[in-house]
């Protein structure tokens, strides 16, 4: 047996069995892609009710991203509707072999960026009735100043960096989860996170020191 054959046989027959947790996640992911593909095929054949099922499956996920993009509940709900309409309209361009979630998330990010630009002032201030701010050592004046600075810094980040740092540091998602949601490699997620955090830490240094 040659060295090449030995190496190949080692690749084909790994010495350790695959992680059962990873394997079940992959199965679950595949099942979701197949379910979504079947629904999309039905929609393409004219079954609008099948799209209702897609909406119900993804509206929470879409709303989470939409809210983080526009920062206002009602605007986020409008954005959700707008994005599903766009998804329905351009469903022919969706590749059914790929997951639906990242595809519609990209629609949210693109359309949300436009909406945020058009409603800049409203979007930078979180709505007071929906937000229960975490306990903070910052007084109200400092909070307002910090919020203004944050809006300024977030606007300077690109859409991807802004979403990644928010998902990781605010919503507590892991880089793998974010990668799946945005269809990015975990390494790419980590790089964007690093860049976004670097900018945020510099811009918000004074407020970070005051934070509990």
């Amino acid at each position: 047996m040659t060295a090449t054959t030995t190496a190949r046989s080692l690749l084909v027959s790994p010495t350790h069995s695959p992680d059962p947790f990873e394997s079940s996640l992959a199965d679950e992911r595949r099942a979701i892609i197949e379910r979504d593909a079947a629904l999309v095929r039905r929609v393409r054949e004219g079954d609008v009710a099948a799209f209702d099922e897609i909406v119900k499956s993804y509206m929470r996920q879409v709303f989470q991203v939409a809210y983080r993009v526009v920062g206002h509940r009602e605007d986020a709900e409008d954005l959700v509707q707008d994005c599903f309409l766009a998804a329905y309209q351009y469903l022919d361009s969706y590749d059914i072999d790929r997951p639906f979630g990242p595809w519609i998330t990209r629609i949210v990010l693109n359309r949300g960026a436009n909406l945020r630009r058009s409603r800049a002032r409203r979007a930078t201030e979180p709505e007071t009735d929906a937000v229960s701010p975490a306990p903070s050592a910052l007084d109200e004046a400092t909070r307002a100043e910090a919020r203004e600075k944050l809006a300024e810094v977030m606007a300077a980040l690109n859409e991807r960096q802004r979403m990644i740092v928010t998902m990781f540091d605010v919503d507590g998602m892991t880089s793998t989860e974010i990668g799946e949601r945005l269809e990015l490699a975990p390494g790419t997620v980590r790089w964007h996170l690093h860049e976004a955090r670097r900018v945020l830490r510099i811009a918000l240094a004074r407020f970070i020191e005051d934070a509990p």
Binding site: G46, V48, R68, Q81, L85, Y88, L138, D169, P186, R201
Partner: protein
């Protein structure tokens, strides 16, 4: 301390980045949680469904919408055409005959003068018929 510094401290670029509780606390305090409990999900789903149905009108939807008006209109138009055809045949038989005559003349390779005569006869007959109808 940046995340790259953390990598130098024995971590590799493939490791999950460390949580930064102070940065997270500040961002959470400023941005607030996502108001998932404030959304009426059923209403939102219905709203999206209604918007899609309002936009989605397949071709048979238009047919269905117009068939009530289109079918009687088509029947009336057919009846009127038939009546006019019968009327024209009774009152001006030459108007109907002259057009085929002209075509025959052209197809048969008649001299240019004969084809022109047939054409002018056809035009004047049709014009006379139209004037009759208007009167």
């Amino acid at each position: 301390m940046t995340d790259l510094h953390l990598h130098r401290g024995g971590r590799t670029p493939t490791d999950e980045p460390r949580r930064d509780p102070r940065l997270s606390a500040l961002l959470r305090g400023l941005m607030g949680p996502i108001p998932m409990n404030d959304v009426n999900w059923d209403a939102l789903a219905s709203r999206v469904g209604a918007a899609i149905r309002a936009r989605h009108t397949p071709w048979w939807g238009y047919v269905e919408h117009w068939q009530r008006r289109a079918i009687p209109l088509a029947a009336a138009a057919g009846l009127l055409s038939a009546t006019l055809l019968v009327h024209s045949w009774v009152t001006h038989p030459e108007a109907l005959i002259s057009a085929p005559d002209m075509v025959s003349a052209v197809v048969a390779g008649a001299p240019a003068e004969d084809a022109a005569t047939a054409f002018s006869h056809s035009v004047t007959s049709a014009a006379a018929y139209a004037v009759d109808l208007l009167e």
